[in-house]
């Protein structure tokens, strides 16, 4: 293989409000190789690739393309430099033809403004043929399957003379045959000297087509090694092998009777045969990769998804969850992943948000009883230490941690006995995180049961009494807190252990 270095990234750092997303990360890429970028959710892979493709600006570090130091000024500049990126969600216009999509914005013209249709279809067809894919360049993109759309994206990147091609989980929604076809295309591109950065969680694939692997963890560079020097276990270890500092203040509560029993719940195409039990005083962690169905499960338990089959029992009584109202009445509260869009009404005040799920409590003779509302809200502001000038402050002006506490207060106020937390500390600074954990401790001490969905390993391992791992809409495994480890969880999430069981 030609070992000339087409790309080198050194000491790349990127800071977002509250987090250091990348901390002095390095990455290099040889001509004609497939270099796998590996890491958990939030390890920094996407951020690094967005910097490379010009979507983000780096804070620190240097990028060398063909050994020349280069500043990438935005997506179109990245294209000019020969960097192409294929996202999981395609950037294609579904109502235009394949050829129009490939040459969008750079259509060949006969006269200014008049497209040379013959040429556009012919050129597009040549590109597609060179990839050995059976697509007619006149076909409308909407009518193509996922794999073919992906090929159109590849053709588009090549038409832009891409020499570096970033593929973000390209096999995520492909069938086995389609994956084979994709791998053939990748091999062909390699022989033509295109270098490929390949992001995937499927370890089997990495062994099949990867030349080298770079692992990122928590925004830091871990190591780069040839694939042939590694085993699956070693890869998993590199991904998750962090020191678990014990700043997570877990206090075990007495675990009591079953409060929630879920039996064989399915949601069309998304969740399959989910069953588990949740006990009083217990924190049940739910781990898994993005798209494994965890948030879907939370929404389902909260009456916001249509259940096709299965049964949900709360305190021994079967409950039909047809709307969030049914779940709220059954004593369930959902602390959503997306506070700003789903948890709060930002233009309403702290008070109005807190009282919203349970207004009936504050109605006397048809009128809102402000005195009662104020009393209740002040109590939560005090207990949860919500930092707000007054109870009438609009939610939009609070910090992330305090907004999260307002969401918590909503469900405390509606007397929930089952709390579902979806990524409870996302976007919250360290101090406020600890406070949220302590509030969870207080809740379980009072006999509340908690389901905690989290992508953060320390959080899952630190706070859970028991852990379920989801994969492809199913429960892939269950671990008690004594047997759980980062490697164990990652194995189930990636599917290794699951397939071993089958």
């Amino acid at each position: 293989m030609d070992k000339s270095c087409v790309l080198r990234m050194e000491h790349i750092s990127k800071r977002f409000p509250g987090v250091l997303a990348l901390d002095s990360v390095q990455f290099d890429l040889f001509k004609g190789e497939v270099h796998v970028l590996l890491g958990e959710n939030g390890a920094g892979k996407s951020t690094l690739m967005k910097i490379l493709s010009g979507a983000y600006e780096k804070d620190e570090g240097n990028i060398f393309i063909d050994e020349h130091k280069t500043e990438i000024n935005g997506p179109s500049h990245a294209q000019e430099l020969g960097i192409g990126i294929i996202y999981q969600e395609f950037n294609l216009n579904p109502y235009l033809s394949v050829a129009e999509n490939i040459f969008l914005g750079r259509e060949p013209t006969i006269l200014p403004g008049i497209i040379d249709w013959k040429k556009i279809y012919r050129d597009a067809q040549e590109l597609l043929d060179s990839l050995n894919v059976d697509i007619d360049s006149k076909q409308i993109v909407e009518t193509l399957g996922v794999a073919m759309k992906q090929m159109v994206e590849v053709a588009k990147a090549l038409s832009l003379n891409a020499r570096i091609l970033i593929m973000d989980e390209p096999t995520a929604s492909l069938s086995n045959n389609e994956i084979e076809a994709l791998f053939k295309t990748i091999k062909k591109l390699q022989t033509e000297g295109v270098a490929i950065i390949y992001i995937s969680h499927r370890l089997e694939e990495i062994f099949r087509i990867g030349d080298r692997v770079t692992v990122l963890r928590d925004g830091r560079y871990i190591n780069t090694k040839p694939v042939s020097d590694l085993t699956k276990d070693e890869m998993v270890k590199m991904m998750v092998d962090r020191d678990l500092d014990n700043h997570i203040p877990k206090v075990k509560a007495d675990i009591g009777d079953v409060v929630l029993e879920v039996e064989n719940i399915s949601v069309k195409d998304r969740l399959h045969d989910i069953s588990f039990k949740l006990r009083k005083g217990e924190i049940l962690g739910i781990a898994g990769l993005m798209g494994a169905g965890r948030t879907r499960l939370a929404k389902t338990l909260f009456g916001a998804e249509r259940i096709v089959s299965g049964k949900i029992t709360v305190d021994g009584i079967e409950v039909r969850m047809n709307s969030p109202r049914d779940s709220i009445n059954a004593g369930i509260g959902l602390v959503t992943e997306d506070r700003k869009n789903e948890g709060l009404i930002l233009d309403l005040s702290v008070k109005q948000n807190v009282c919203l799920p349970n207004m009936s409590k504050f109605i006397t003779n048809g009128w809102i009883n402000s005195g009662k509302e104020n009393q209740a809200v002040d109590q939560y502001i005090d207990k949860l230490n919500i930092k707000t000038p007054t109870r009438n402050q609009l939610a939009i002006f609070l910090s992330g941690g305090n907004q999260q506490k307002v969401v918590l207060s909503k469900w405390l106020c509606s007397d929930a006995k089952i709390f579902i937390f979806d990524e409870p500390t996302r976007g919250i600074d360290v101090g406020a995180k600890t406070e949220i954990y302590q509030l969870m401790n207080q809740l379980v001490a009072k006999g509340v049961a908690i389901i905690m969905i989290s992508s953060e390993m320390p959080e899952i391992l630190g706070m859970s009494d028991r852990i379920l791992i989801m994969r492809n809409g199913r429960i892939a495994g269950e671990l008690s807190d004594s047997e759980a480890s980062q490697e164990e969880i990652m194995n189930y999430a990636l599917g290794e252990a699951y397939e071993a069981v089958l």
């Binding site: 969030p324 109202r325 948890g343 009404i345 309403l348 919203l356 799920p357 809102i368």
Partner: protein, 317 residues
Amino acid sequence: MKQFFNNQNLDQIRQFGTFFGLIALCLLFTILSPYFFTTSNLLNVAQQSSIIAVISVGMTFVIITAGIDLSVGSVLAFSGVVMASVLHAGLPIPIGIIVGLGVGFSCGLLNGLLVSYGKIPPFIATLGMMSIARGAGLWFTDGRPISGFDDSFRYLATGEIFYIPVPVIIMIVVYVIAHLILTKTKMGRYTYAIGGNEKAAVLSGINIKLYLNIIYGIAGLLSALGAVMLTARLNSAQPIAGIMYELDAIAATVIGGTSLFGGKGTVIGTLIGALIIGVLRNGLNLLGVSSFIQQIVIGSVIIGAILLDTNLKMKKN
């Protein structure tokens, strides 16, 4: 400074702004015309504004939910002619009024069902209703007005209680009730919640379909109340009544500070908005400005109000 811009202060400033705008306008016309600041003229303005003001209350509720109702003018015409025909059939006045209000409420409810269950954008649903109700009114009357009513019915427009015209009293009662609903009841709180963030409202257990139906129903009901007032005033119910009323109602609501993006607004603001439009029309008439130019002025005021809102919004973010 930051503290000052925090909170609802900006919205309060906006509200005062509209109020001072109204005062300034009144001062201006007082200086320019000796006839403006007289009791009879001011009562005249209030009376002329009352119908649009009443309709604008329904519009305010709808717009706070991030919707819009383009059908109010047509619904007014349709419920007016149905009520008139009931009265001409010799049925008692209260029955006629109740039937009229029922027609208005039903049209509004249908809008609500299309928006909530049909998932049609409010603009399209009510645009359809605008045409349907107009057509229904014309078809029902064969395009002819229904005229001539008892004095006891006309009292609703011509009567006075303690020197205050009855339409003005109706307007005040509607505003007091609407204000109380919006600020002091569960339904009011839900109205803001739905417009502020529909997803979060659903996930807070609010039955948003039910409340959207009620709110669009109320908008239809208030259009019908407008029809009662207009029919009594003109002594005639016309199938072509209320054309362009939707624009005046939207204008009054928006000038009054209700955000077209939903989640924000007050009926007091809307009342001020309706009065601003009324004062502008009246004052410009007194000054002999042509009705063509009046349209230009009113259009500019609407745009000015929205520009102000957009700028305030940007400042807040």
